[in-house]
Amino acid sequence: MKKIETTLSTLLRDIGAFYIPKLWHFLSVNGIDLGEGKIELQWIFSAYGVKDEIVIYYVLSDYNTPVPSLVSLIPSAIMGEREIVDMFGLTVDGAESGLYLDEDSRTHPLRGES
């Protein structure tokens, strides 16, 4: 497993340069609450036909900064993006709430302070 740190402002550029659909399988978007209003966001990829090759791009951020959407690069990322909107209360460009929770839910279960 290889972890590569990036920033929200360079995320699209970095993953755009890395992601080739016929080489890399997009696995998931993930969030990990770090406490004190901080969160680690991860975008996880595995290589087709290569054993144990996993690459994770990650960003250390807070809950107030909007997260750019990867849907223009990876259409299937919308599911994971909608999930972190619900579960962490993040704002992701173009991703609606209401995947798992009520659309107007005020609680976000995986957010530390909830």
């Binding site: 609450d33 991860q42 087709y48 994770i56 299937s76 995986l110």
Partner: protein
């Protein structure tokens, strides 16, 4: 501009096994747009894994994410924790875990094939496949003690050994099933209801499979060569006869055949496992508390199941991330619906073998 109408399917519908709601936008009988609502059975499992249960208990919690692939959930979680503890299972434990996962794949694929037959109006075949599936359910129950929620895999091993009587039962039932699957292959290939009706329906092209990150039988039916069993080194699949099954047309017929041929391959692997079962303990000490971050991929019946586990040396974990196959397949599924006839929607949906308990978790 042609008039369009919106037709809902679900959340409760006779063709659905679990709750999911589609909103189809149709032009006459053709679907031109689709929206899906998948969260009806959200239970907060990820939260429970870090707030309500200690890491030694979580393996039994995640098995409750899904009744059909409970064994792959508990295996994925257990492998992740064992990586954090620096523990590697002996070969006997690996073989026993593989046996249960492949048995699980066989009965899960048979359930999907039964419902595909049912959606073609072939009720008798539905009943026949469900009856034949009991051969595997009986073996799973005899080995693990349970038909569905197995709780067979634990950190450091498995909970029951394979006795000579269980080996004999497994051999016998696999032999009986093998004959029945051969007959099913002929039926799915030659019967009008199952072959002509499903050829060219619900097509996912190879290009779309890459674009929408399709996985599991859905991807392999479109010709995308991906299978976690070939992309991880946690288990010696190749040595036990694993073969990647590929089709090329990407339609319902191809998805049926990927599943049928994977059942044949899994039966062969199960036979190899019980004939070459290594000697060793079935439960070993895996000491310590999880510290760090580990990721695990396991090929569940519907495709790649992914777990990320992070711990900081405590009994309670910091994060358990579960990414299930159907969750990832939703975008590809929605793409396949576009352009299809509305009347084919239930059959297309059944051919994806969706699991909403996994998806909403």
């Amino acid at each position: 501009m042609k008039k369009t109408i919106q037709i809902p399917l679900g959340s409760q519908h006779i063709s659905l096994l679990e709750p999911i709601r589609f909103k189809f936008e149709c032009e006459n009988e053709k679907i031109i747009g689709v929206d899906a609502d998948v969260g009806f059975v959200h239970r907060g499992v990820e939260l429970a894994c870090t707030r309500s249960f200690e890491f030694k208990q979580v393996g039994y919690v995640v098995a409750r994410v899904c009744g059909l692939c409970a064994i792959t959930h508990s295996l994925s979680y257990t492998l992740a924790v064992e990586k954090l503890l620096g523990y590697v299972a002996n070969d006997r434990i690996k073989y026993l875990r593989m046996l249960m996962v492949e048995l699980d794949r066989i009965h899960s694929h048979m359930l999907c094939l039964a419902h595909t037959a049912e959606n073609a109006g072939f009720e008798a075949l539905f009943m026949q496949i469900m009856g034949d599936r009991e051969l595997i359910m009986d073996v799973q129950e005899a080995i693990s003690g349970n038909r569905v929620q197995f709780d067979y895999i634990s950190i450091g091993g498995v909970n029951r050994d394979l006795t000579p009587e269980l080996v004999a039962l497994t051999h016998k039932n696999l032999g009986l099933l093998s004959e029945k699957i051969d007959a099913l292959i002929g039926l799915f290939d030659n019967n009008w209801s199952l072959s002509l009706k499903y050829k060219g329906v619900g097509v996912l092209s190879l290009e779309e499979a890459y674009t929408y990150n399709a996985l599991g039988p859905l991807a392999r039916a479109a010709g995308l060569a991906t299978d976690v069993r070939a992309e991880t080194s946690d288990f010696p699949y190749e040595a036990l006869g694993y073969t990647m099954i590929l089709e090329s047309t990407g339609d319902i017929h191809a998805r049926n055949f990927v599943r049928l041929r994977e059942i044949v391959n899994s039966i062969a692997m199960c036979r190899n496992i019980i004939e070459n079962l290594p000697i060793g303990e079935i439960q070993e000490k895996a000491k310590g508390k999880p510290n760090g971050e580990a990721v695990v991929r396991v090929e569940a019946p519907r495709g790649e199941l992914f777990y990320l586990v992070r711990g900081s040396g405590q009994n309670m974990l910091d994060r358990v991330r579960i990414k299930t196959p159907t969750f990832s397949a939703i975008p590809a599924m929605m793409e396949v619906f576009k352009g299809a006839e509305y009347a084919d929607a239930p059959a297309i949906l059944a051919s994806f073998d969706p699991c909403m308990s996994c998806t909403a978790k």
